[in-house]
């Protein structure tokens, strides 16, 4: 077509704007994450003492706990992003943040959150079998996490089934708000439900065991590692989304130019 014959375009509109200020941060986070992850693996498998009662299976807990906690953080970010998308924070003089930025933060956090919560569920199930003697139990935290997973999977589904990007953004922001508000109610309903349906949790696990100081330290280190991984994934996803938008815009501009 005529694109190649055109003179080299120097129009302002064809230049990609770097509208995400933290463009270079993910690279450093990736390197930092790699180093931390290596040290973390060493600590978990070689330094951490083996649990007397649970044995080696207990080591999965260093990955499981940070994943579960950070997935909650992700969904909190989705909630904030969704509220921001509807302009709730305009009262705080945050007008400079564009609607699209709120949406891309919420969308990226939801995707990272679904990955984290999936991993937390899988590691949880692997842990539960030897420790509780069953793959799954309808314990409040487990059930709430599963419901959380379902809510945010439906969030992503709704986005991909929407007829336009704008529609997907509005609809999923609704789920971002409604879903987050619903989580405490789900938690308490299952806590109450459990109090009348005691189910047999067998195995030596008890809630009140105190952690060995070394274990505690390594848990905090794992938390830091996963936090870096989380920040890297989130920022990279936001950057990728912005690139997708730029690409879509450029394609549209090119089409318009050709028609003209």
């Amino acid at each position: 077509m005529s694109i190649q014959n055109e003179p080299k375009n120097t129009d302002e509109e064809f230049r990609i704007k770097e509208h995400w200020p933290l463009v270079h941060l993910p690279k450093y986070l990736a390197v930092l994450g790699l180093v931390l992850m290596t040290i973390n693996m060493y600590l978990i498998f070689l330094v951490a003492p083996t649990d007397i009662v649970l044995g080696h299976i207990q080591r999965i807990f260093y990955i499981h706990v940070p994943m579960a906690i950070l997935s909650f953080l992700c969904f909190f970010i989705v909630f904030i992003g969704s509220l921001g998308y509807f302009g709730v924070f305009q009262v705080f003089k945050l007008r400079s943040i564009k609607q699209n930025t709120w949406d891309s933060v919420a969308h990226s956090a939801a995707e990272v959150g679904v990955i984290f919560v999936t991993l937390a569920l899988i590691t949880g199930v692997i842990w539960a079998k030897p420790v509780w003697g069953t793959w799954w139990t309808w314990e409040p935290r487990l059930t709430t996490t599963l419901i959380l997973w379902l809510i945010y999977v439906s969030y992503l589904m709704l986005r991909s089934y929407a007829r336009s990007t704008k529609q997907g953004a509005v609809f999923s922001a609704v789920i971002g708000i409604v879903g987050f508000v619903d989580v405490p109610i789900v938690y308490y309903s299952v806590v109450w439900w459990r109090s009348i349906h005691p189910s047999a949790v067998i195995g030596p696990f008890s809630e009140s065991n105190s952690l060995d100081p070394t274990m505690n330290l390594i848990l905090w280190f794992s938390f830091l590692t996963i936090l870096v991984l989380f920040a890297y994934l989130l920022l990279e996803r936001i950057a990728l989304r912005n690139t997708e938008f730029d690409l879509a815009r450029l394609k549209l501009l090119r089409e318009l130019k050709r028609i003209r």
Partner: protein, 224 residues
């Protein structure tokens, strides 16, 4: 005040009139509900001793499925002839449109439940009813209608239409279903007698919360 009540009643009456003339929703959902009772009977192979334990569960699962069918209809019917756009263009507040749709769904659901309940009571051999069951039905159905109306509005606008509603609806509504089952079990006089006084407030809090949030969000939704 009159500017709220009058359009509200007009929209509700429009939907009721449509239903009276076509009769397609109520009849098909009733047949579906009766079929569910039969399927559950064979799926669970119920014997008289355990029947009182699981009756509440069977009733509420059937009611929830019937509710999904009704809510799918509320906006699909509007969407077909483009009357939804007409409704949104009319000089009526968005909150009123939303509330009228909630009330219509609520009325249809409570009608279905009122007809199905004696059927289930006969099939499952439930003898003791009380005001607690009535309160549970009203509060739970209100919760179903509020959340369901918001989601069915979104669902009909997506590409997958009806499939999307249950996927969105069930995770959010889970606490209400748990509460309804436990409260009705209490009202049938099985085992956990004092439990209803905590479950009814749970459902009521859920209703109150979402009756505030959903109309507010709906006003953003329709702008899209």
């Amino acid at each position: 005040m009159n500017s709220i009540i009058h359009p509200l009643l007009i929209i509700i009456w429009k939907d009721i009139l449509l239903e009276i003339r076509s009769k397609d929703t109520i009849i098909s959902v009733l047949v579906f509900g009766a079929l569910l009772a039969i399927v559950f009977n064979f799926a669970l192979n119920i014997n008289p001793r355990q029947i009182s334990e699981i009756a509440a569960g069977i009733i509420w699962v059937s009611f929830a499925f019937s509710a999904i069918l009704i809510m799918n209809r509320t906006f699909v019917r509007e969407q077909e002839q483009g009357s939804l756009d007409g409704l949104l263009l009319s000089p009526i507040s968005r909150d009123v449109i939303f509330l009228s749709k909630v009330l219509v769904s609520f009325l249809f659901m409570i009608t279905i439940e009122a007809i199905l309940l004696p059927l289930f009571a006969a099939m499952l051999n439930i003898n003791n009813f009380s005001w607690i069951l009535l309160a549970t039905m009203v509060l739970t159905t209100l919760g179903f209608a509020t959340v369901g109306t918001l989601f069915s509005f979104m669902a009909v606008k997506t590409r997958s239409r009806e499939i999307m509603l249950p996927v969105l609806f069930f995770p959010i509504i889970l606490p209400v279903i748990i509460g309804a089952i436990e409260a009705s079990r209490g009202s049938f006089g099985i085992g956990y007698e004092p439990s209803w006084n905590r479950w009814l407030p749970l459902i009521a809090i859920f209703d109150a919360l979402f009756l505030v949030i959903c109309p507010w969000i709906f006003s953003y939704l329709v702008e899209e």
